[in-house]
Amino acid sequence: METLKTIWDFFQNEILGMAWLNRLIGSLLNALGLDTNEKIGGSLQFFIYDMIKIMVLLGILIFIISYIQSYFPPERTKKILGRFHGIGANIIAALLGTVTPFCSCSSIPLFIGFTSAGLPLGVTFSFLISSPMVDLGSLVFLMSIFGWKVAVVYVLLGLVIAVAGGTLIEKMHLENQVEEYIRKGKQLDIPQEELHFKDRIKYAFEQVCGTAKKVFPYVLLGVGIGAVIHNWIPEDFIIKALGGNNPFGVILATIAGVPMYSDIFVTIPIAEALLSKGALLGVVLSFMMGVTTLSLPSLIMLRKAVKPKLLAIFTAICVIGIIITGYFFNLIQSILI
């Protein structure tokens, strides 16, 4: 058991967390005459280390994730979901939400596809909640920074919110809140092209290049903000605003995170820096969840498919779920890290 733990710790810290890289950069900066215990040297070390770590992890992760995703196009997910009923369908929808490639501009076609295939509204929403909130990438990233316990609890809670939220929407009988043209929309089954190993590898590779190009400036920004927090903002200030002394820290973090549109890769360095300066785990994670799950652009897109009442209920479920998750993490922080 002990040996296993040592091997796992090595994997988590040195391979996923790339702690060796941090030491290497520290020594290099010291050799250049910069003291990494001081503000400028410390910020530089954080910036270089985090930038490299995030881009490398991002590249490898997107590749693996895209490869898995190529097996689950929305058309196939729809067919799989049709075989399940009751809460089982919600659970499968939440799980498939984590592996189906999906961008916000596909939410309407997806909505119509699911609805016209006869899937209950609640199942569609379980999918729509889990898809941005939990994905394979966040699992690995959280593991690399906060350890496996935090990552597993985060994913489990995200799935619980998705299943509970979808079930709640189902029970409220909001079918009349879906826009007319979507309820009437006819979904044709168009033949799927056969993908071979080579096609999947090509798809995964294109996803890596596309995503890296798209998120690079934002990662730069995120790591920059992280470096500033890490070395320039006084610890007492962060502890006061986001630590144990502020009972509303989680709510503040959620409200700040929700309108923002960003990738989990961008929020990671900010979260990492805040945590190291004494912010509570729940505060940091609720900020991350808020940023990735809801955003103004995705809500505007969804408004085209559902009426304001259902949109408001959807938003409320996500926000309340994120806040509960935050407080739960604050409670169990001492057990997890």
Partner: protein, 80 residues
């Protein structure tokens, strides 16, 4: 030839539209290229992954941002 790009107005959909116009110009095929974001019209094609490329009312690809050369290949094939 009639070409339609179906999309929700996001960045990758616009990219496919741009690439298609390039492909049409490069191949010299006479074609009407149209960018459709009206969801009711989009749904008539039964596509769930955006963006989609429709050539002569047939869905050629979906959920992919093709490069101009790849689009040109498809156009030439349809043109015979």
């Amino acid at each position: 030839m009639k070409i339609k790009i179906l999309g929700g107005g996001c960045a990758s959909c616009k990219k496919l539209y741009e690439n298609t116009k390039k492909a049409v110009a490069e191949t010299g095929i006479t074609a009407d290229t149209e960018y459709i974001t009206d969801m009711e019209k989009v749904m008539a094609y039964g596509v769930m992954s955006m963006p989609a490329l429709v050539v002569n009312e047939q869905v050629a690809t979906m959920g992919k941002v093709l490069k101009p050369a790849e689009i040109a290949k498809i156009l030439k094939k349809v043109n015979g």
